[in-house]
């Protein structure tokens, strides 16, 4: 069902925009049948809208899956994929890209933010000492590293006020830079990370227990935690470097799927991945069309949905149980 949902909203996503494309022509173009789109419309579909929709799907899938895995690993229903300093590290990397390179930032931005995000998480691991012996220690060092990176980022922004606006718009998330090259490299990291997470999803049940219980049931909890967090972080860092910081997807989608399926979060990771993809394609459609031809940052849309959702969760505590 989630797959059908993704295909449906994907079709909506490539169809709507300042210029409307018809569904039948889109399908014909994509399958290579006669009667498809020609000229500018064809370029609009294949080189602008399609990569953008696919990138939104990849990023949404990455954030939702990582969020669900983090919630299991850290035994915290409100854990989100940006916990371990990925967001702040990537933000610092992006700010550095804007402040040091000045001109064409988009070539370097993904690399800077990816490296920044990964470095921040590695620092969190390093500070927390014993690798994954105690997930809460890792969580706390993630928060410390995040604050530190944000402090440097704020300082840099103060010194380079011209970078303020582009950094700010990046922080709110944007898919405007989507092209086939970005789709290409991000899909490699994101799809392989999601595949790893789905392949270990059954064992993740064990991480919801204490380490001794998990061990007695045949799991090496330390090793499993490392695999889970590394894969989830890689997916998140890739998503962030491709599209900025898009909030709430990692929390809203796993809880929604859980509320609907009534299953333990990590047992429906594949559904969560597809639902996350569909959610972000839909949010991006909103970002592009609500104030057309102007564009809203996609983070505004996801937060707009996400904040009321938190109130809903608070009122309906069963969902976080």
């Amino acid at each position: 069902m989630a797959v059908a949902l993704l295909l449906g909203v994907g079709l909506l996503g490539v169809s709507f925009g300042p210029i409307h494309l018809h569904f039948d022509q889109i399908v014909k173009t994509l399958v290579g049948a006669p009667g498809g789109l020609k000229g500018q419309d064809r370029t609009l579909l294949l080189d602008l809208r399609l990569p953008r929709v696919i990138l939104a799907a990849l990023v949404g899938g990455a954030l939702a899956t990582s969020g669900a895995v983090y919630q299991t690993v850290f035994r915290n229903p409100l854990a989100d994929p940006y916990l371990l300093g990925v967001a702040a590290g990537a933000g610092l990397g992006a700010t550095l890209a804007f402040t040091t390179t000045g001109g064409n930032v988009y070539g370097l931005l993904p690399i800077f933010s990816f490296v920044g995000g990964i470095l921040a998480v590695l620092t969190s691991f390093f500070i927390s000492g014993k690798f994954f012996a105690e997930p809460n220690t890792l969580l706390l060092s993630g928060i410390a590293v995040g604050s530190f990176a944000t402090a440097i980022q704020t300082y840099l922004q103060q010194r380079h006020s011209d970078a303020l606006r582009p950094v700010y718009s990046w922080i709110l998330g944007e898919l405007t830079a989507a092209n086939w090259r970005v789709v290409g490299w991000s899909s490699i990291y994101i799809l392989s990370s999601i595949a790893i997470l789905i392949s270990i999803s059954k064992q993740l049940d064990g991480l919801m227990l204490s380490d001794e219980e998990a061990y007695s049931l045949g799991i090496n909890p330390h090793r499993l935690r490392i695999i889970a967090v590394v894969a989830a972080t890689l997916a998140t860092a890739t998503a962030v470097s491709a599209s900025g910081l898009i909030g709430f997807v990692g929390i809203v989608v796993p809880h929604l799927v859980r509320g609907l399926t009534r299953r333990v979060t990590n047992r429906s990771l594949a559904t969560i991945a597809f639902a996350g993809a569909a959610f972000l394609v839909l949010a991006d459609l909103g970002a592009r069309t609500l104030l057309s031809p102007a564009e809203l940052p996609i983070g505004v849309i996801t937060a707009f949905v996400g904040a009321p959702f938190f109130l809903f969760v608070l009122r309906n505590r069963r969902m976080v149980r």
Partner: protein, 261 residues
């Protein structure tokens, strides 16, 4: 036999267990007793083989941390309660090592319903574990351990925070395991209950074992009193069953005729 030789377990620079050497018989119920901080839980966890230790712990002649096939159930004192998981799913986790994670064989399903019945959880199988009361949660933990069909079960204070009625229910559930030849090792703060159910007692103090042996030998020993700074008194009921209570003074053992209720 489980043979422990010169076992030392450290947490940082601190030695929690120091040069412990003791043998624990298989197929029997052994209770680790001693005051808080004596190292009971640490010894129990060491027997699981997950954490680092120096010395040797050999179960059936094999060093415990090297034996990945060993089927040991662990019942913690305060379990992590998974969110969103039903009682049936929780008990089914006990089959993971046999069936593979996420797989449920027909045999396992039948076994789990049988166990849910034995542990009086049958009507609650689709309830969320997080909604269970303390007594029900403890039964769910025991049920999961039963589902594991273990050769050895380690229980950390299985009766703490339970009222007397539930204590007996849980201990009877554990006793069912013993009847199937499973080795049981538990910590228990209530020594009277320990003496009632266990066959063997290991007395611990300050990270060492001060005495171990059959209940009848250990329960009247000065080492047991010493472990508790002589602040316990041991009475013997008419039936010959010992009762251990806290004592204000260091009074010695007394025989007071009493009828068991």
């Amino acid at each position: 036999m489980i043979e422990i030789q010169d076992l030392t377990v450290r947490a940082g620079a601190r030695e929690i267990l120091r040069d412990i050497s003791v043998s624990i018989p298989r197929g029997k119920w052994t209770c680790l007793v001693g005051p808080n901080g004596a190292g009971k839980t640490t010894l129990l966890k060491a027997l699981l083989g997950m954490n680092a230790y120096s010395g040797t712990i050999k179960d059936n002649g094999v060093e415990v941390f090297k034996d990945s096939k060993r089927n040991v159930a662990f019942v913690p004192q305060s379990p992590q309660i998974p969110s969103g998981m039903s009682v049936a799913e929780y008990v089914m986790l006990g089959r993971s090592k046999r069936d593979g994670w996420g797989k449920e064989s027909t045999k396992s399903r039948a076994l789990v319903s049988e166990i849910l019945r034995q542990t009086q959880l049958f009507g609650m199988q689709s309830q969320l574990v997080i909604q269970l009361s303390g007594g029900e949660m403890q039964r769910a933990l025991i049920a999961r351990a039963l589902a594991q069909e273990p050769e050895l079960i380690l229980l950390d204070e299985p009766t703490s925070a339970l009222d007397l009625h539930h204590q007996i229910a849980v201990l009877n559930n554990i006793e069912m395991l013993k009847d199937r030849g499973v080795t049981i090792i538990s910590t228990m703060h209530d020594i009277t209950l320990a003496a009632m159910y266990a066959e063997n007692i290991v007395v611990m103090r300050d990270g060492r074992v001060s005495l171990s042996g059959p209940v009848s030998e250990v329960i009247h020993s000065p080492e047991l009193k010493d472990a508790f700074d002589n602040r316990i008194s041991v009475y013997t009921l008419d039936s010959g069953r010992p009762v251990i209570v806290a004592a204000k003074d260091s009074s010695s053992e007394r025989e007071i005729p009493q009828k068991e209720v």
